[in-house]
């Protein structure tokens, strides 16, 4: 690893070049000799074992997306890179038609899946840059292999890409597609070209890396500052989703009537690409069965020592994650449930230890990290379906936030009740986008959850007002919109949420203020509830008998002794659908009457998955 790092003359992959750039004048000397290896490996007969993967090649080369990893890669790398359209396009050598057309379709599909981050036309260009052309383009590698910097878009794309890859269903909102495509097309093309160029040169360097695979799991855009020092940063591959192919066909086919883009392990060129992007170095199994050659086949057992030795280089990967990854690799954990549980526990530890770096925002940074962890897991062993679903649940917030902020205009006065994490994310994100609005936080005893939300909002610079629920009708006249969270949404459109929410919604309705409920789709339930009584939760009655900090208010100190006094501390209440204007979910904005449709349509898919 060290030797390789020293010899690398690629400009730091983490640096993002925007605009035209000149190729690095000093191509790595080792590249030329290695270039000859590439054709050799390609010339292997199908039965022979391709050379071991060289994950460390990655840095120089921005990974050109594999079929299987294409989705992730493309999405994640889209925002970064320089734009050299003429160079890449003109120098592409003619490619065999079938892979490129397949690739084109795959990318097209990918673009649909990832919510329109890529356009079909662009993906066609992707296709043209298969590695066969690399030898000619050796010098162009100063390109930013580094996919992402702290740009909002990139992180978002990362998360989105990961989400697209992992989701078993197409949750992409079509309405958002056209907008996204237009805004980032040029950027994306720039990135793709750069990546292609870099990859080409990287590949020329050769597939052998004696030593090491890259350190940390693929992507860590936010880690760039620290990783700048590591030569062969993983960066580029935000992805390493290269082995996913086998799991995903049903989902892909449903999304688009196009043959599923799988990681075709029998396709030499793609295998080469995949190898370059992996963190975990894996040797191919010998004498593979012809019929199953399209699936990843590796000797897992050999990886453990390698990974263990790399442990100290993998600082961006949380130790818990790393441990679970090793367990997957070694086969210690097997079984869908066990793997899923282990993964979630590892995520839990990682998230507990997580703290947002200064210049980043929680939503995007955390999502990016989780994507990288996920890709690390996938390298160790392909995801199970249960894991995929679980991961998707972690990432739904991004979509909700995107939809909800379209409803926030400059000059709005937004009211929220209690503390909902989704609403908080929406408000913070809208503030970051530069929208000018005020927030009124309404709170109530005994939990006083609004205070924590208020503290966080004020810390980020939003102008807020705070009130107790008794003053609700007093302040409602100046409010323009109400954003509420929900514990669950029932089939008749009733929103089951923290006690007090119903009152807020009803007063808002009386003042003709629209009420928006922000709720993830997994909280939808088939049950129907007509009032708050038949199903609820009781809290501690002592909490309402006492007022913290006011020992003089002790009239209820002996309330338990009074026979005809009962204290009721309800936790939840049910808001009828008539008071709700709209529910914002990860499937888009829907009226409360459409909840059963979502439950019916999308739960069905969950069951199949």
């Amino acid at each position: 690893m060290e030797a390789r790092r020293a010899s690398r003359t690629v400009s730091d992959p983490k640096v993002r070049h925007v605009g035209f750039f000149t190729p690095d004048p000093n191509p790595h000397p080792g590249r030329t000799p290695l270039a000859s290896d590439a054709p050799v490996s390609n010339a292997l007969s199908p039965v022979m074992i391709p050379p071991p993967r060289q994950p460390s090649d990655r840095t120089a080369a921005v990974p050109v997306p594999e079929t299987g990893q294409r989705r992730q890669t493309g999405a994640d790398q889209v925002p970064v890179g320089s734009y050299n359209p003429s160079e890449s396009l003109l120098s592409s050598s003619p490619l065999p038609s079938s892979p490129s057309s397949r690739v084109g379709l795959v990318d097209g599909e990918f673009s649909e899946e990832s919510g329109g981050w890529l356009r079909r036309s662009e993906s066609e260009k992707y296709a043209s840059s298969l590695p066969d052309t690399m030898v000619e383009r050796a010098p162009e590698n100063s390109a930013s292999a580094a996919p992402r910097l702290e740009s909002k878009k990139s992180v978002e794309v990362t998360g989105k890409g990961g989400k697209a890859v992992l989701e078993e269903q197409n949750e992409v909102q079509s309405s958002s597609k056209p907008l996204k495509e237009k805004t980032t097309k040029a950027e994306r093309r720039a990135l793709q070209e750069a990546q292609r160029a870099a990859k080409a040169s990287g590949k020329a360097e050769g597939n052998k890396s004696a030593a090491v695979s890259q350190g940390a799991a693929s992507v860590k855009p936010v880690k760039q500052p620290s990783q700048k020092k590591d030569g062969p940063p993983v960066s580029v591959s935000v992805v390493s989703f290269d082995k996913k192919g086998g799991d995903r066909p049903p989902e892909k086919e449903r999304k688009k009537d196009v043959p599923a883009p799988r990681m075709q392990f029998d396709d030499k060129s793609r295998v080469q690409k995949a190898k370059k992007h992996a963190v975990v170095k894996q040797t191919e199994a010998r004498n593979r069965v012809e019929l199953f050659r399209h699936l990843p086949q590796y000797e897992h057992g050999t990886q453990l020592p390698d990974l263990e030795s790399k442990f100290f280089q993998l600082d961006p990967v949380h130790p818990a994650i790393y441990k679970v990854g090793l367990q997957y690799l070694a086969g210690d954990i097997s079984g869908g449930n066990a793997r899923c549980i282990a993964m979630l526990q590892a995520f839990k530890e990682a998230i507990e230890d997580y703290s947002t770096p200064q210049e980043k925002t929680l939503a995007r940074d955390l999502t990016a990290k989780i994507s990288s962890y996920v890709s690390f897991f996938i390298e160790c062993r392909p995801l199970s379906i249960s894991m995929g679903n679980a991961i998707r649940f972690l990432k739904t917030h991004k979509v909700i936030v995107r939809h909800a902020i379209t409803k926030i205009r400059d000059g709005d006065v937004l009211l929220t009740y209690g503390s909902s994490c989704v609403v908080e994310m929406i408000l913070l994100y809208a503030h970051e986008m530069g929208k000018q609005f005020r927030v009124v936080v309404v709170d109530s005893r005994p939990k006083l959850e609004g205070q924590a939300l208020l503290r966080r909002l004020v810390a980020k610079g939003l102008s807020c007002a705070y009130s107790h629920i008794n003053a609700l009708s007093y302040i409602m006249h100046e409010v323009t919109k109400v954003f509420l969270g929900a514990a669950s949404v029932l089939s008749n459109g009733t929103v089951y949420s923290r006690v007090g929410t119903a009152s807020v919604a009803m007063v808002a309705n009386a003042f003709h203020v629209p009420v928006l409920i922000c709720c993830e789709a997994y909280k939808f339930h088939e049950r129907v509830q007509l009032d708050s009584i038949c199903s609820n939760e009781l809290g501690d009655p002592d909490a309402i008998a006492k007022v913290p900090g006011r020992t003089d208010v002790n009239y209820l100190n002996n309330w338990a002794n009074k026979e005809n006094l009962q204290l009721l501390n309800l936790m939840y209440d049910a808001t009828p659908a008539d008071y709700i204007s709209m529910i914002v979910t990860d499937y888009g904005m829907i009226p409360p009457t459409s909840v059963p449709v979502i439950v019916r349509e999308y739960r069905r898919d969950h069951v199949f998955l």
Binding site: S101, N170, E171, S174, S175, K256, S581, M582, P591, S594
Partner: protein, 258 residues
């Protein structure tokens, strides 16, 4: 083809039905296994075939809507119509051809003069027509049995975006318990969800008052208004007779399944 569709959309960015229609058109046309074919020509001809089919579907839609709404037009009823919608015109034409006896109140529809055009057409069909100025709607609402309007767009909440004046009429009808029927093709279903009037893209047009207006006087020039779903009774579409809450179901199935 995608480019051409985008060209249509950008030609009139304020037209919601055009946008919605184009979206659905793209979806319809590309949602086919034709794209699997490696042979470009066969894929292309298949796409063209789908596109033409889409055009046929749209014109058939009007006939379906006209058929479905015949049941709601009973003998001797009075229908209030606002705006000039060819779908509504088709409905009334079909009723006239079926020899039903009914009369129509047309609002003038300033400044587009839609009422004048519509009353012209209806007079040709020998349907008794009465022309009202826009402010006379509440005055005549007692005599009216139902209100029929078209739609520029049907939004996700089940509300409609239509010519200026529709909301007022719907409000008056609702408060006097008269049904408001909307006749709209399904390609007008759009993925919008306005919370209030300002939540939509503005569509301004010049208004000629007939006399010069002093420059200090502002003129409200918006051409469109959003009518919330609670004031609408039924929507007659080529997908059937729907209540406003079903629009979202249809949209979910149309858009989120591709």
């Amino acid at each position: 083809m995608f480019i051409r569709v985008c060209a249509y959309q950008s030609w009139d960015t304020t037209s919601i039905s055009l946008t919605a229609g184009c979206d659905l058109f793209m979806r319809y046309v590309t949602r086919t296994s034709a794209l699997e074919y490696e042979d470009f020509n066969s894929a292309r001809s298949r796409l063209i075939e789908r596109a033409e089919k889409f055009g046929e579907i749209s014109s058939k839609a009007r006939r379906i809507i006209a058929m479905l709404s015949q049941d709601s037009i009973f003998y001797g009823c009075t229908i209030l119509v606002h705006g000039f919608s060819i779908v509504v015109l088709e409905v009334l034409k079909t009723a006239a051809q079926n020899k039903k006896l009914f009369r129509v109140f047309c609002t003038e529809g300033r400044p587009d003069r839609t009422g004048l055009r519509l009353s012209n057409e209806l007079a040709k069909l020998d349907v008794p027509v009465k022309l009202l100025i826009d402010s006379a709607v509440a005055y005549t609402m007692d005599e009216v049995d139902m209100v029929f309007v078209g739609a520029d767009g049907v939004v996700e909440s089940g509300g409609i975006i239509n010519m200026m004046g529709t909301f007022q009429i719907a409000l008056v009808a609702h408060s006097m318990n008269k049904p408001v029927y909307v006749a709209a093709e399904s390609y007008k279903f759009a993925r919008l969800y306005p919370l209030d009037q300002k939540d939509m893209a503005p569509a301004l047009r010049p208004i000629d008052f007939g006399v010069p207006i002093p420059s200090k006087v502002e003129v409200e020039r918006s051409a469109r208004i959003y009518t919330p779903p609670q004031y609408l009774t039924l929507l007659f579409t080529d997908l059937g007779v729907l209540t406003p809450s079903v629009v979202s179901d249809e949209l979910i199935q149309l858009y989120l399944w591709s």
